[in-house]
């Protein structure tokens, strides 16, 4: 997908690309292995990569861990879904009606930097703990990337494209939905991918602080209070979270490539 590099006679084949990916992942694993084995990082606290991955494999077979993982993924999925459903229309509204954006900006910008740690007790008090707490915090955090990418995406829409539809007598709403939205959809999708990561982090982090017994975060917490802390367990749990992140990202990217073929094909023209 290099658009800047001079055209190569043959773009890299699938095999080359996958082997590069594997090489990248292996190099990263090797780095951790090395840090740990050479004692640069105390192996008691950063076990070698082989041990982490080995442990991760056994965890996958552990029904207790699978139950934790399922709980987390459920909260993640609900949270991300809700965030998307809320943020896109909100972004369209704020991005297309400047006066509303200006009027609400102080409130929005005031709310944005409030950390979830401060919110946990307050939200817990109002709506209770459990799934709803996690989902609320996930939505609260995952909302922003989608909202901002929607707003900024709208600004990047070619004005002439909007005029073209307006000239046929379409109203502002039709122009918004039929031109601005599809045109900025690829960037909104990037926002959703960002939010997917944020949502995952928030799910697990909330569980670490206030998990009420279920979720990968709780698993991590308990591994951490063991004496000595079960670092291999913690990092194996982290490994699964990271891997899930990679999978979700890959899925979303694949979906983007399908949905926005017009976008990618056009950009690929330069090759």
């Amino acid at each position: 997908m290099s658009t800047l590099a001079q055209p190569r006679l043959r773009p890299a084949s699938h095999a080359t690309r996958w082997s590069r990916r594997a090489a990248g992942a292996l190099a990263f694993a090797a780095l951790i292995e090395l840090l740990s084995r050479t004692g640069l990082a105390d192996p008691e606290f950063l076990p070698p990569a082989t041990e982490i991955v080995g442990r991760a494999a056994t965890l996958a077979a552990d029904p207790a861990f699978r139950a934790h993982a399922l709980t987390s993924l459920l909260a993640w999925a609900i949270g991300l879904g809700l965030a998307t459903v809320l943020a896109v229309p909100l972004g369209l509204l704020l991005g297309s009606v400047p006066i509303i954006d200006a009027a609400t900006r102080s409130v929005v910008e005031f709310l944005r930097p409030i950390p979830s740690v401060a919110l946990i007790p307050l939200v817990a008090l109002v709506i209770g703990t459990g799934l709803q707490l996690r989902v609320t915090l996930v939505v609260y955090a995952a909302l922003w990337p989608i909202l901002y990418n929607t707003m900024y995406g709208l600004r990047g829409v070619d004005p002439l494209a909007k005029e073209s539809l307006r000239a046929y007598g379409f109203g502002p709403l039709a122009v918004l939905l039929r031109v601005s939205l599809p045109s900025s959809a690829p960037f909104i999708a990037t926002g959703v991918r960002l939010a997917a990561g944020v949502a995952l982090i928030l799910t697990v982090s909330t569980e670490i602080v206030a998990g009420r017994g279920e979720g990968i975060g709780v698993f991590l917490f308990f591994a951490g209070i063991a004496v000595p802390a079960r670092m291999a367990d913690i990092l194996a749990g982290v490994f699964w979270v990271g891997l899930f992140g990679v999978l979700v990202n890959a899925l979303l990217v694949a979906a983007e490539r399908r949905a926005f073929r017009w976008h990618h094909a056009r950009l690929g023209v330069a090759e």
């Binding site: 005029e163 073209s164 539809l165 000239a167 599809p182 023209v269």
Partner: protein, 256 residues
């Protein structure tokens, strides 16, 4: 049909870079007329078109379409933009691009599709319906933009250098197509062109604008015998005379 009254437009008004694009322009177009506008590059033709379409609010004067002052885009209007490639939607196939405006027309899906294909066929692009705009050549994109406007069957059609990117043969075919469609569907057409021959060939009237700020410096009635024909009309003595006249007006004011 169309009444332009002392129209003025200033871009960036109030700033030191203010630019007077149009000043005190008066013009009226009768129902069913095909008016050609010619004028030097950068004089304000596209600005005039945008004002008629209600896409910009002129800083002075007013535009009336069918007696109503234009505040937003009038109904049953179609525009072929000068920058045709940017006016096509890259996320839609060519056929969808053409069919989209028809949603305003209470047509069902199949009817819209049919109408789009018909329009594409009329501009010689029946084979490109399922392609995306970026897969077309410049001239083909321009023809898609024309097809989109034609399929819409507007009562007022605004065309900004609509045939600039096609070859001579296609250009003639498109000129005749516009004449034919106009006759069938009683459209009023305002067409901007740089091709003086073209303006005389397709126009019922040719208006020549001065360089910026634009105002009318010539308004010629084209009284050629119809139906027009690429060979006989262009050989008609009136044609030769009118074309020379328009040429003189344009040249005179381009260099003043």
């Amino acid at each position: 049909m169309l009444e332009i009254d002392n129209l003025s437009h200033v871009y960036g008004g109030g700033t030191p870079n203010a630019h007077h694009a149009i000043e005190g322009l008066n013009l009226s177009v009768a129902e069913g007329e095909l008016l050609c506008i010619v004028g030097p590059s950068g004089c304000g033709k596209s600005t005039l078109l945008r004002s008629i379409a209600g896409l910009i609010t002129p800083t002075g004067g007013q535009v009336k379409v069918e007696g109503n002052v234009v505040r937003q885009t009038p109904d049953n209007l179609a525009v072929v933009f000068q920058d045709y490639s940017r006016s096509l939607f890259p996320w839609m196939s060519v056929a969808d691009n053409v069919a989209l405006p028809l949603r305003r027309k209470n047509m069902d899906k199949t009817r819209r599709k049919e109408a789009a294909h018909e329009a594409l066929e009329s501009v010689g692009l029946e084979g490109a319906a399922r392609k995306y705009p970026f897969q077309l050549s410049g001239g083909m994109q321009q023809r898609v933009a024309i097809a989109r406007a034609l399929a819409y069957r507007p009562t007022l059609m605004l065309m900004d250098e609509p045939f600039g990117s096609v070859d001579a043969q296609t250009r003639e075919d498109l000129e005749d197509l516009v004449l034919k469609v106009r006759g069938h569907h009683q459209m009023t057409i305002v067409l901007i062109t740089h091709d003086i021959d073209e303006s005389v060939y397709v126009g019922d009237r040719v208006v020549v604008l001065s360089k910026a700020p634009a105002h009318v410096v010539g308004d010629l009635k084209v009284d050629l015998p119809g139906p027009r024909d690429q060979i006989t009309t262009r050989e008609h003595p009136d044609f030769v005379h009118l074309r020379a006249e328009v040429g003189r007006l344009v040249r005179g004011h381009a260099t003043v």
